[in-house]
């Protein structure tokens, strides 16, 4: 029986259960993005987007979702398409830059490469943002998540080519920049309000210099 008087942070651990300890079933309203995705995958695999095929795909998606129920993914209810596009473009640029960097390290530096395990406490409370930040930074070569502390939203990452205290700080700043961009794109309204006046580290450094 989960305690009803948990602090908001601990309650996240029990979010798959309701107050009576019964497992939540996601409603159709919460699940439509998943259904849409499944229908798209079905159409793509058949290479056929005709209405009949999509209808059959939708039926199969409904059957799958009802046969293998998952705890609901609680989205924040806010989605800024412009920031999503910006995030994706920035992600691609970041992936290319980091790939070149890691390639240079692999070919030139080799055995002398030093890396660090750093702890990055995130500002957000939401599981979704913590998960997506971890996902995005793992996809960018040069950093990946070793461990997550859910109760304090802390990511422990392995970061390549970090061999001074200054670079540790810089790496931490980069991760917080990913977090900022993700909150701008899909974070909840409160978190967006709290973070929208922040600028990226590069702009901040430029402002501080003169």
């Amino acid at each position: 029986m989960p305690n009803k008087n948990l602090a908001p942070r601990d309650q996240r651990i029990d979010d798959a259960l309701d107050t009576a300890g019964v497992r939540h079933r996601a409603t159709l309203k919460q699940e439509w993005p998943l259904l849409l995705l499944l229908v798209f995958v079905w159409g793509a695999l058949w290479q056929d987007f005709s209405p009949g095929n999509l209808l059959f795909g939708a039926i199969i998606a409904l059957v799958i979702v009802n046969l293998f129920p998952l705890p609901p993914v609680v989205l924040s209810g806010r989605l800024n398409l412009w920031y999503c596009v910006k995030l994706f473009a920035w992600f691609l640029g970041q992936v290319i830059a980091a790939s070149v960097h890691v390639a240079w390290l692999a070919v030139v530096r080799g055995k002398q490469t030093r890396s660090s395990v750093i702890a990055v406490p995130l500002r957000t409370d939401s599981d979704l943002i913590v998960m997506t930040v971890g996902h995005v930074l793992t996809l960018i070569p040069g950093s990946f998540v070793l461990d997550v502390d859910r109760s304090s939203s802390t990511l422990y990452l392995h970061y390549i080519d970090v061999d001074s205290a200054r670079e540790v700080e810089k790496a931490r700043e980069n991760i917080r920049d990913i977090e900022r961009r993700l909150i701008m794109a899909i974070g909840s309204q409160d978190e967006y309000e709290a973070i929208k006046n922040e600028c990226s580290p590069r702009v901040r450094r430029k402002k501080e210099q003169p």
Binding site: Q47, V102, L105, G110, V117, S152
Partner: protein
Amino acid sequence: MEIFLDILVAVLLILGCLMSLIAGIGLLTFPDMLTRMHAATKPQVLGFLLIFAGLAIHLRNWTIVPVLIVAWAMQLLTAPVSAHMIGRSGYRTKHAAKDTLFSDELRQVVDKVSSGSATGAIPVVDSQDHEQDGK
């Protein structure tokens, strides 16, 4: 126009395959397992993007683009899962050499929690544990 597209295809395919070669080189030259994992992520994201783009342009076939998008998106969704699992169990089971690390901010937390089992579901660290660590 055709020749331009052909050159684009050539550049995309060769760069994509270069990513796989660099991943192989990285696997050989990096000093410890956790660093080698960075090399393994490279062909998964950028390499496949380039190869898929090259393939779609070369075949001049729009119906395969959604399939390639699905393949790439699946790669994006699943690659971090295995990276996280390998990295985590490598770190916790001491398979990964740690003498090449510059700093290690996870060690005290793990030492505190995983004195029992080295693998499997590691209990969640309470925030209280952190506070005691600091004392």
